[in-house]
């Protein structure tokens, strides 16, 4: 079984985010970066499937030079090889552009399974996975919390809203987006870190992939980054119980208009 895991490098949850003066993005120079949380679960799921059924795990990321680290981490944990998509022209891709670039690589790899995290912790769009499946004409299941390999297919448990789940069966190849908590991501051993150095980490540019810049022109652009403005206020009603009740009824009827 050949599995590819897409991993995005995002700011560590412990980072202090500062917005750039031009409100285009956050200041990155003091940030500590790490692998996106749900992507780590996707990697672990791929490694578990490989350990149970054999095959190969490929880790793939797209980003600036610093994001090479998430591939090294993945290789240290047990991925067999890695693909690093790195090009100036990739800097401002939207989800559509990202899906197109990943599709270019993955259509040559012929994977049985593509795993992504549910969504990126920084932009939170949860879109690249399904869009990539569309580009590759693959079936996909989002928010996966359990996988089970069947004969020629895959049975997965999908999380729905309101605490509901459903079982889905899909043929292979397929693309899944993995929900955090599906497994327990492993810790990289020193043995693994040393083995990582001898593993293949291939870097590909836009030219290597043969994607013309015109195809990658963004369909959406980021207008402005800002801290949410506080719009709600908590009001304490004071007085004797009768008075408080009267005030509450008044507010529910006239301000909230729910009565």
């Amino acid at each position: 079984m050949k599995i590819c895991v897409l991993i995005k490098q995002v700011p560590d949850a412990g980072s202090v985010l500062r917005i750039r003066d031009d409100e285009s993005w956050v200041e990155e120079d003091k940030l500590v970066f790490t692998a996106n949380e749900s992507d780590s679960y996707a990697l672990e799921e791929a490694l578990l499937l490989k350990e149970a059924h054999g095959g190969e795990v490929i880790a793939c990321t797209l980003g600036p030079e610093r994001s090479r680290q998430v591939l090294k981490d993945a290789l240290s944990k047990g991925a067999d090889r890695a693909i690093f998509l790195h090009d100036e022209s990739f800097n401002n891709l939207d989800c559509n552009g990202l899906a197109k670039v990943f599709a270019k690589v993955l259509e040559k790899e012929h994977c049985d399974l593509i795993l992504c995290g549910l969504q990126a912790d920084d932009t939170g769009e949860a879109a690249v996975g399904p869009m990539l499946a569309q580009e590759l004409h693959l079936p996909h299941v989002t928010m996966v919390v359990q996988t089970e390999l069947l004969d020629g297919g895959l049975k997965v448990k999908q999380e729905l809203e309101g605490g509901w789940f459903r079982q889905v069966e899909t043929s292979l190849p397929a693309l899944l987006t993995i929900q955090s908590g599906i497994n327990k991501p492993r810790y990289a051993s020193l043995r693994g870190i040393m083995a990582m150095k001898k593993k293949e980490l291939r870097e590909l540019s836009a030219t290597d992939l043969g994607v013309p810049a015109t195809e990658l022109a963004p369909m959406q652009t980021l207008q402005r980054i800002y801290v949410p403005v506080k719009t709600k206020e908590t009001v304490y009603l004071e007085g004797a119980p009768e008075e408080v009740v009267a005030q509450l009824v008044d507010k529910l009827a006239n301000e909230a208009k729910v009565l």
């Binding site: 560590d12 949850a13 412990g14 980072s15 202090v16 003091k30 500590v32 790490t34 944990k77 327990k184 492993r186 810790y187 990289a188 051993s189 020193l190 043995r191 693994g192 870190i193 040393m194 083995a195 001898k198």
Partner: protein, 671 residues
């Protein structure tokens, strides 16, 4: 020795030669530790002899008020045995007119009396041991009371019975000799002489050969089998204590992962990372394991064991020994050490508090052995405790185990309106104040950091902090077995501090203190590190800091393991408290305290994960401290403060007991 041996010329020598041959052949056991890894020893011959004398012959660490009965029992056994061994050798030589000039004459009264004392000591010790082992006073953790067990030929009771028969038989054989030879000074043998008078001459004539031969053969059998029995410790434990470098005890083996990572030829699959088999330990660690006398003192003081964890330090050491004997002598089957005979839970339960090492009579280094096994789990298999894995990642990424932003390392000072001098601005200073992760990020310890600043400002100390440049020292990572993360942060710190000039490092955290001052020495650090208890004490002693203490409350002090047992600092924090509180204050001691003080439960990485136990270590310790009726529990450790403060809340004693760092107590009395 006389009489019947002459009737069958040479038979005794034949038996003795056979016994000696067997003894020598079995002595190969003493050398199996050579399969271990190299470990440099820089001990001089004088130190080796001194160790052998102090910890071997004089049994310094056997004597302990904590284990009074067992101490007396063993001193009687040990010294009685040694005296008789000496006496027998002298007798043998005197009988054959050898070394006449050096030795007392035959039947010298004082020598005869001395030998009777030796016999009585052995007899008394053996009876005490038999009573202890077969009465209600037997400590439940003593491994076995039967005739065989754990590869010990004869077992514990068996060897005691042999010693009993030797002691009694010795008196009877001597009585028979006195009866037959009737030397003029016979009454100096104040035990054997009365026995000899109890029977008639003809009776002794009949019995003497039997008594002599049974005693001689039993003694020879004892020598022949000694290395296979528990008595082997009389040799191997003395060898072990002789070769122990007391100044290096408890230190973890340097691994030099950095060099390993840069070595292009290192084959990851062939590397030995930590220890998973006997031969992965150093020869000295293996000798430690061989020296274990199974006295169980270590386990009886282990705080993890006391709260119901499966950890028994003695079992770990014996498991290593069994693996050593299985692999070298073919004693028993070779089974995987970790996950085979030792579970990961046992290893993770150790708080590295050093209580085990403190009481070990034969100077075994339990902690480094346990950390070596942990290293294998983490570095080789990537299996730290589940809750600790993210902590290790946070140490590597954000430079602190909580994962708070690196750039907010000084928020505790900024929030209090303190503007602290930074090393990056000053370049040089007298005191580099090492705040530590807890001091920087944990709300309770932030108060201690502020108290430290108040103290240093009041005393006019020239100090500076590293601020965002400060990094976790890697203490937890190292004790958890992650030498890779430890070395990574350690080298970052060494590089940062190498840029600056300072006279001393001062820190309020004993873990930082130990790591910066002891662990970093292995990586080339040469700076002086002072704990805040020593530093504040000195400020007060030299009059640089005056505290208007007139407090009447009762205070008890909790010893931090990495301050007390690991670094021998017991008095400084106590002196700080008494100086700060003034003459009216009442400093009471908890039971136990000082060298026997009980861990708070956070050391060795245990701060970051919980294992299922019947009780929590911090609650057990808090109860001991609360039993002093003190209204303040003073600590001098970041982890102890967190653990005991938590315990105080859990026990719902916040209204009656305050847990405070000594710096806070001092700061309250300033100005």
């Amino acid at each position: 020795m006389s009489g019947q041996e002459l009737h069958i010329p040479g038979l005794f020598y034949l038996c003795a030669a056979a016994a000696l041959l067997s003894f020598v052949y079995q002595l190969r056991r003493a050398f199996v530790a050579r399969i271990g890894q190299p470990e440099p020893r820089t001990l001089s011959l004088a130190e080796v002899l001194r160790n052998a004398l102090v910890y071997g012959l004089a049994q310094k660490k056997v004597s302990s008020r904590q284990f009074g009965y067992a101490s007396i029992m063993h001193l009687l056994l040990g010294w009685g045995f040694m005296e008789l061994f000496f006496a027998t050798t002298v007798d043998f030589l005197v009988e054959r007119n050898l070394l006449v000039a050096l030795l007392p004459e035959k039947d010298t009264p004082w020598f005869a009396a001395l030998n009777e004392v030796g016999g009585l000591m052995l007899l008394g010790g053996v009876l005490m041991a038999l009573f202890r082992r077969h009465s209600g006073m037997r400590p439940p953790i003593l491994p076995h009371n039967a005739f065989a067990g754990r590869g010990n030929f004869l077992g514990d009771t068996g060897i005691l019975l042999v010693l009993l028969f030797l002691a009694v038989g010795g008196f009877l054989a001597e009585a028979a000799r006195l009866a037959l030879e009737a030397p003029a000074t016979a009454n100096a043998s104040f035990v054997a002489w009365p026995i000899s008078l109890a029977f008639s001459y003809p009776t002794w004539v009949v019995w003497q050969p039997w008594l002599w031969w049974s005693h001689a053969l039993l003694a020879l059998a004892f020598i022949a089998l000694l290395p296979q029995t528990k008595m082997f410790h009389a040799l191997i434990a003395v060898a072990n204590v002789a070769l122990t470098d007391r100044s290096q005890q408890g230190q973890l083996r340097p691994m030099n992962i950095t060099a390993l990572m840069e070595d292009p030829d290192a084959a990851p699959d062939d590397l030995v990372l930590g220890a998973a088999r006997a031969e992965d330990f150093t020869w000295k660690q293996l000798l430690d394991a061989q020296a274990c006398t199974e006295c169980a003192r270590c386990t009886s003081v282990c705080p993890a064991h006391a709260v119901g964890s499966p950890l028994s330090p003695m079992k770990i050491i014996l498991d290593i020994r069994n693996d050593l004997y299985a692999r070298t002598l073919g004693d028993g089957d070779v089974r995987p050490l970790v996950d085979g005979v030792i579970t990961a839970t046992e290893l993770w339960a150790c708080t590295t508090c050093r209580a085990c090492m403190e009481v070990c009579p034969v100077l075994i280094d339990h902690i480094p052995a346990i950390v070596d096994l942990r290293r294998n789990l983490v570095l080789s298999e990537g299996r730290p405790p589940e809750e600790a894995a993210p902590v290790l990642e946070k140490i590597a990424k954000q430079g602190n185990p909580w994962g708070f932003p690196r750039e907010q390392r000084l928020k505790w000072a900024e929030d209090a309106g303190l503007e602290l001098p930074l090393m990056a601005d000053k370049g040089q200073t007298d005191i580099l104040y090492w705040v530590g992760c807890a001091g920087a990020y944990d709300p309770r310890n932030q108060q201690v950091s502020r108290a430290m600043v108040a103290i240093m400002q009041a005393a006019g100390v020239d100090f500076a902090v590293l601020g965002p440049e400060e990094n976790c020292t890697g203490d937890s990572a190292r004790r958890l077995g992650d030498e890779y993360v430890y070395e990574t942060v350690a080298h970052q710190n060494l590089k940062t501090m190498g840029q600056y000039r300072f006279n001393k490092i001062v820190t309020a955290c004993p873990h930082c203190f130990h790591t910066l001052g002891t662990d970093y020495r292995q990586l080339g650090a040469e700076w002086e590190v002072v704990h805040h208890s020593q530093f504040i004490n000195q400020l007060m002693e030299t009059g640089k800091l005056t505290v208007s203490g007139n407090v009447t409350e009762t205070v008890t002090y909790h010893d931090a393991c990495y301050l007390g047992r690991h670094n021998g600092i017991y008095d400084a924090p106590r002196e700080v408290i008494t100086r700060a509180l003034g003459p009216e204050a009442n400093l009471v001691e908890a039971d136990p305290c000082r060298e026997q003080g009980v861990c708070c439960g956070a050391g060795g990485g245990n701060m970051w994960y919980e294992l299922p136990t019947e009780e929590r270590i911090n609650l057990m310790r808090f109860d001991q401290l609360a039993a002093t009726k003190a209204s303040t529990v003073a600590t001098a450790c970041s982890f102890c403060l967190i653990m005991l403060d938590d315990a105080c809340k859990v026990r719902d004693r916040e209204n009656s007991i305050q847990v405070k760092d000594i710096a806070e107590i001092v700061a309250e009395g300033i100005g």
